[in-house]
C-alpha cells in the first residue's frame, strides 16, 4: 500500500541459532530449513531481537509452554519490536486473557462456533465459493490468493458478525496494519485498533434499538455469572479478535492448500477420485502449512525441555514449527494426505485452542471441494510470482495460477 512509511529495517540474519528473526525475508520465503537448523541446535533458542525472545523448536517444548499459564502469559500475543502498553482498549479477550479471567471469556464465545453451528453456515459458504469462482473461471488464469482464498473467510465472518460482506476490503486493510505493519510500526497498530473500535461502536449503537440475530447482538446480550452485561470494551475487544483471527488465518490455510495442490497433481487426482478423504487431507494440510504462530510473555523464570527461560522475554510460539517435528510426525517434511495419526497443533494446544477451529475446518473443506469440482486441473503460472505474508500468519498473498489442463 502506498500510504505506508517504510518499516524499521532489521539487519539480515547470519546466525539463525543465536539471532533468529521471523520477519527476515529468508524465513518468510522458506522457513522449513531454518526450523530444522534451530531444532537440531536446541529445543529452545533465543534472540536479542524484539527486546529478547525465545522460540521452542520441538513439538514437546511448544506443548509444555502452551500448557504452562503460570510462567507464560498471553497478555502479549504478537512478537513485535516494541511492547505496547497493555490496556483494556487493546486487549482482546479471551486470546489475551490468562486464568482465571480466561475461562468465562472463552466460554462466552464457544457456543456459536460448535461443529453443529458451522453446518448451518455451510450452504452459504458453498454459494460464496461458487460466486467467487464464477468471477474468474472464464479467464483461464487467476491470482487465487487475491480473488479466492482471501474472500472466503472475510465473507464468512462478516456473515456471522452481521456486518456487510461488502466491507471486506476495509477488514483486510486493518488486519494488514495489525498483523504485518504493526510488528515494526506501532502507530499503524493503534490506528487500526481505533478505526475498528469506531466501526464496531457504530454497529453496537444501531443494535441497541434494533437487536439482530448475529454475533454482535449475541455478545451485547451476553451476561456474566453475576448476571451483568459485558463492559463495552470487552465486547469491542472480542469483536476485534473475531474479525482479526478469523480472516488471514484461514485465507492463508486455503491459499497454502491450493498452492500444494497446484504443484501436486497426484494429490489433486486422489481427492477428486476419493472425495471422502477430504477431511483427512485438510488435517494434513493444516499440519504441513499451519498458518498461525502465537506468542507468550515469560512472567516467571522456569525451565523448558531443560533450557532456562527468563522473565521479561517474549516467546515465539511456533505451532507451524512444532508440526514439522520429525520426532512427533514421521515424514514430517512430506505432505501425506492420508496420514492416519495426526495430533497437529495448528489450532494451538491447551486453554487457548482456537475458538474458530470448527469454522476454519469447514471453510477449508468447502473451499477445496468447490474449487476441485469446478477446476480439477490448475498449476502455478510460470510468468507470475508466489509471495508469502510476513510475520505471525504465514500464507500466500499472491498465488498466480493457470486454470485447465496444461497444453
Amino acid at each position: 500500500m502506498s500510504d505506508v512509511s517504510p518499516p524499521a529495517a532489521h539487519p539480515p540474519v547470519t546466525d539463525w541459532v543465536n539471532d533468529f528473526d521471523h520477519t527476515d525475508p529468508q524465513w518468510t520465503e522458506d522457513p522449513f530449513p531454518i526450523w530444522e537448523e534451530l531444532r537440531a541446535a536446541s529445543p529452545v533458542v533465543h534472540t536479542e531481537r524484539f527486546l529478547g525472545c525465545y522460540m521452542p523448536t520441538t513439538y514437546e517444548a511448544v506443548r509444555e509452554i502452551a500448557n504452562d499459564t503460570e510462567h507464560f502469559s498471553s497478555r502479549r500475543i504478537i512478537v513485535r519490536d516494541v511492547r505496547p502498553e497493555i490496556t483494556s482498549r487493546n486487549a482482546a479477550p479471551p486470546i489475551t486473557s490468562d486464568p482465571p479471567a480466561h475461562k468465562p471469556a472463552k466460554q462466552l464465545l464457544l457456543p456459536p462456533f460448535t461443529p453443529d453451528a458451522m453446518k448451518k453456515l455451510e450452504p452459504r459458504m458453498r454459494a460464496i465459493c461458487n460466486e467467487l469462482i464464477d468471477g474468474f473461471i472464464a479467464d483461464g488464469k487467476v491470482d487465487a490468493a487475491a480473488r479466492y482464498s482471501k474472500y472466503i473467510p472475510v465473507r464468512a465472518i462478516a456473515h456471522m458478525l452481521g456486518i456487510p460482506e461488502s466491507d471486506s476490503d476495509l477488514f483486510i486493510k486493518w488486519i494488514h496494519m495489525i498483523l504485518e505493519l504493526g510488528i515494526k510500526d506501532e502507530s499503524k497498530l493503534l490506528q487500526a485498533v481505533q478505526e475498528m473500535s469506531a466501526y464496531f461502536g457504530a454497529h453496537i449503537e444501531a443494535r441497541k434499538d434494533k437487536p439482530t440475530d448475529d454475533l454482535i447482538s449475541y455478545l451485547m446480550n451476553a451476561r456474566d455469572k453475576a448476571g451483568k452485561p459485558l463492559e463495552e470494551s470487552h465486547v469491542l475487544g472480542s469483536l476485534r479478535l473475531l474479525l482479526i483471527a478469523g480472516i488471514d488465518t484461514t485465507w492463508s490455510a486455503i491459499g497454502s492448500s491450493l498452492w500444494h495442490l497446484a504443484r501436486t497433481p497426484v494429490d489433486r487426482e486422489r481427492l477428486i477420485a476419493e472425495p471422502e478423504m477430504m477431511p483427512t487431507a485438510v488435517e494434513e494440510l493444516l499440519r504441513a502449512f499451519s498458518p498461525v504462530t502465537m506468542a507468550r510473555e515469560v512472567v516467571k523464570e522456569t525451565t523448558i525441555s531443560g533450557c532456562p527461560v527468563k522473565a521479561g522475554n517474549m516467546v515465539l510460539l511456533s505451532f507451524p514449527a512444532a508440526n514439522r517435528d520429525p520426532k512427533m510426525f514421521p515424514d514430517a517434511d512430506k505432505v501425506v494426505i492420508d496420514r492416519r495419526e495426526n495430533r497437529h497443533a495448528a489450532f494451538g494446544l491447551g486453554i487457548h485452542r482456537c475458538v474458530g477451529s470448527n469454522l476454519a475446518r469447514m471453510e477449508m473443506q468447502v473451499a477445496l471441494e468447490e474449487w476441485l469440482k469446478r477446476i480439477p486441473d490448475f498449476r502455478l503460472d510460470p510468468a507470475g510470482t508466489v509471495t508469502w505474508s510476513q510475520g505471525t500468519v504465514r500464507g500466500p498473498r499472491q498465488l498466480p495460477f493457470l486454470l485447465g489442463k496444461a497444453m
Binding site: P115, R343, L349, G350
Partner: protein, 69 residues
C-alpha cells in the same frame, strides 16, 4: 476371547478440538461449548474398535483413553 473396549475423555484435558467427534461420531458427544465426552458409558460397540483407536491417536490434547476390558 472377546475383548471389549471402552473410551473415556478426560474433561480436564479436553479443549474442544472435536477431532474425536469427527472421526468417531458414534463414540463421542459434544456439549454446548463443543467439549467432548464419551457417548453413554463409553463402551465401544463391536466393529467400531478401529474408530476408537483413531480418535485417541488424533486427539491433540492426549485427552482420550481407550481401555481394554
Amino acid at each position: 476371547m472377546t475383548e471389549r473396549l471402552r473410551v473415556h475423555v478426560d474433561p480436564d484435558k479436553c479443549q474442544g478440538h472435536a477431532r474425536c467427534k469427527a472421526l468417531a461420531p458414534e463414540l463421542f458427544e459434544l456439549d454446548e461449548y463443543g467439549n467432548a465426552h464419551e457417548a453413554g458409558d463409553g463402551t465401544v460397540p463391536p466393529g467400531l474398535e478401529d474408530k476408537a483407536w483413531l480418535a485417541k491417536s488424533n486427539c491433540p490434547e492426549i485427552a482420550i483413553d481407550v481401555i481394554e476390558e
